[in-house]
């Protein structure tokens, strides 16, 4: 009875829970009984040297790879075998290292394309029966501006995406994910290729989104020194295993973590 209650509390506080995930590539064990819990509405960092299994873990959680053993629980639901687009529908969205915007569309249009189930996207009726989709579109534009002002791209709404900087493109990816209905965003190295000033701006936005809107972030990052101060919780992996977890300062100074980076 007591266990059951604890279990439900755990499910409520953690959006993503993995249980004993195992993933092998031939003889290599990429994930070796990985157990992680991503706290809801918080920013969780995942670090580890190259080849430690970070990206494999993200791929298993987002559905791009299937694990041999173990389970992935998302909002209390077993999603281990769901295809990626089904996970997107549940609110779990993943962004990629290299942003892929619609370059000739404006920032606003990029966000609007992400609107789910738009009746105006039917090409056979869109041009003739405008009144069928105008109310939906008006509401979508409202949501898009709301999101754009949250991620800090409000001023840029009329600019084509091709004119944005690398950091702004990552913000645009976040904006599209939220427009899509994401409440949990997994980001693979958002700071890669972004200059330090913009990294701070990017993470300021991520912090605001998580604090004020309750969006959960799970972030893989190599540039730990730049981003550590923004995150609530951290995991460190090495050789397919979680070797440390806890507050970021604790994990970053953990002897095993230091050794994994230095000892290579």
């Amino acid at each position: 009875m007591g266990l059951q209650v604890a279990r439900e509390e755990e499910l409520q506080e953690h959006v993503i829970i993995t249980e004993n995930l195992v993933k092998r590539f031939g003889g290599i064990v990429a994930l070796d009984r990985v157990n992680i819990r991503i706290p809801k509405g918080k920013i969780t960092l995942l670090i580890g040297p190259n080849g430690s299994g970070k990206t494999t873990l993200v791929n298993v959680i987002s559905g791009f790879l299937l694990p041999e053993e173990g389970r992935v629980i998302f909002k209390g639901k077993d999603i281990t075998r769901l295809p990626p687009h089904e996970r997107v529908k549940l609110g779990l969205v993943r962004t990629f290292q290299i942003p892929k915007p619609f370059l000739n569309l404006t920032v606003l249009e990029n966000v609007l394309v992400a609107a789910e189930g738009h009746p105006g996207e039917n090409p056979y009726t869109a041009a003739v029966l405008r009144s069928k989709w105008i109310p939906f579109e008006e509401e979508a534009v409202e949501r898009a501006f709301d999101i754009l002002s949250w991620v800090g791209l409000y001023q840029k709404w009329e600019v084509p995406a091709s004119d944005l900087s690398g950091g702004q493109l990552k913000l645009l990816e976040i904006a599209r994910a939220i427009m899509k209905g994401a409440d949990t965003i997994i980001m693979d190295e958002p700071a890669a290729g972004v200059n330090p000033t913009l990294v701070h701006e990017l993470f300021d936005r991520i912090v605001r989104l998580s604090r004020e809107r309750g969006v959960t972030f799970f972030i893989i990052e190599h540039r730990i020194g730049l981003v550590a101060k923004y995150v609530d919780y951290a995991y460190a992996m090495n050789m397919g295993r979680v070797i440390a977890e806890g507050p970021p300062d604790y994990v970053l100074n953990h002897p095993d973590v230091l050794e994994s980076y230095l000892g290579g």
Partner: protein
């Protein structure tokens, strides 16, 4: 002596046909990124519906007046095309109902068949990319041209002449005038439709798929369906252009030969040039470019190419003036594309955003969320 009214009618018809055709290509290539070099075959669908299907039906209905059975009329109007169409042209002016019915029939059936052919062509369009798809569509168009030319039931008994469309506008008393009015109305309707589509979430989705298919897929969009829909709707409009062209006794010189309606320079390369010149995914640009180029170049050049060719004195270097006159259009096409790509690579009016709502309305919403 040039009759200005006649010339204006011809040029208006040319502009209308070229605008509809270029706008159709713009939907497929400019907005959705499908390199359709088979545009001529979708255009030809319109010509075949007018010159073959509508003509057969008109002959069957008018069979008693033609003095043959309905079954004979269905066949003879194609196999003894020139003779029977000449006889139809004496009957049709007294049958406005039949004429109007056949015009409407041509419009509807050609757009349906054009859409169907577009749907068929969309299968390779989903699997092939870029250059390969362009080559495939170009060869499909050429293949259909050869097939149509030598199939008696499609193009009649004389391959070089092809079919002669009856004058369905004969009942108006001034066919050249009313065909150009009709062409203009069709072009305006196409323009309104294309503007409305560009400025809709559907147009925005087409442009998004063109820019990044994977990203569109990641956002849950059915990219295959978008490409298929663009081929279907775009090709239906190409067939409409073919109908407008073939209904016009001026532009056709009253004959619809496979050589002319499948012509890749006239109906594929020129629309590409006009689209690039106007601006890819820029409906207004395409409209403006078509109007300027057709009015200044294609119209006068088609009419006076022999006279213009003589100005170059090419016979001095042993080139036949007649051949040079025909080549003049191709030379101009090449020069024009080069100039545009050098001077204004995005076209005279660059691609605008999809204004799904009025800009003022969007700004009004924007103000609410000012940080």
């Amino acid at each position: 002596m040039v009759n200005l009214a006649v010339m204006a009618e011809q040029i208006i018809s040319f502009i209308a046909v070229y605008y509809i055709l270029s706008a159709s290509l713009n939907m497929k290539a400019g907005m959705t990124g499908i390199p359709d070099f088979g545009q001529a075959m979708f255009f030809a669908v319109g010509g075949i519906v007018v010159g073959n299907l509508a003509t057969r039906i008109a002959a069957v209905i008018a069979a008693p007046e033609l003095g043959v059975t309905r079954g004979e009329a269905w066949k003879l109007v194609i196999t003894q095309n020139t003779d029977f169409v000449a006889r139809l042209n004496e009957i049709l002016p007294h049958k406005p109902g039949l004429s109007i019915a056949m015009i409407l029939f041509s419009l509807v059936i050609a757009m349906i068949l054009g859409g169907l052919l577009g749907w068929l062509a969309s299968y390779p369009a989903l699997r092939l990319r870029g250059d390969y798809l362009a080559i495939m569509l170009l060869t499909a168009s050429e293949g259909l041209r050869v097939l149509a030319t030598y199939t008696v039931s499609i193009m009649g008994s004389t391959p070089t002449v092809g079919l002669t469309a009856p004058n369905f506008f004969g009942f108006t008393g001034n066919a050249p005038l009313w065909t150009s009015v009709f062409a203009l109305i069709m072009a305006l309707l196409t323009y309104v439709y294309m503007e409305s589509f560009h400025n809709s979430p559907g147009g925005r989705l087409f442009r998004a798929v063109r820019d990044d298919e994977e990203s569109a897929e990641a956002l849950g969009k059915d990219v295959a369906k978008v490409r298929r829909d663009a081929m279907i709707i775009g090709s239906a409009f190409a067939a409409l252009a073919g109908v407008v062209f073939s209904l016009n006794p001026w532009t056709t010189g009253s004959s619809i030969a496979a050589q002319s309606i499948f012509d890749r320079v006239f109906w594929t390369f020129w629309p590409w040039a006009l689209m690039i010149l106007g601006g890819m995914a820029s409906n207004r640009g395409v409209g403006l470019a078509t109007t300027i180029v057709v009015a200044l170049l294609i119209g006068p050049i088609r009419l006076y190419k022999q006279d213009i060719a003589r100005l170059f004195h090419v016979q001095a270097v042993g080139i036949d003036v007649g051949y040079f006159a025909n080549a003049l259009e191709y030379i101009l096409l090449g020069v024009l594309i080069l100039l545009v790509l050098l001077i204004r690579p995005r076209g005279i009016i660059p691609e605008p955003p999809s204004w799904t709502l009025k800009k003022d309305k969007i700004k009004e919403i924007a103000r609410k969320y000012q940080a």
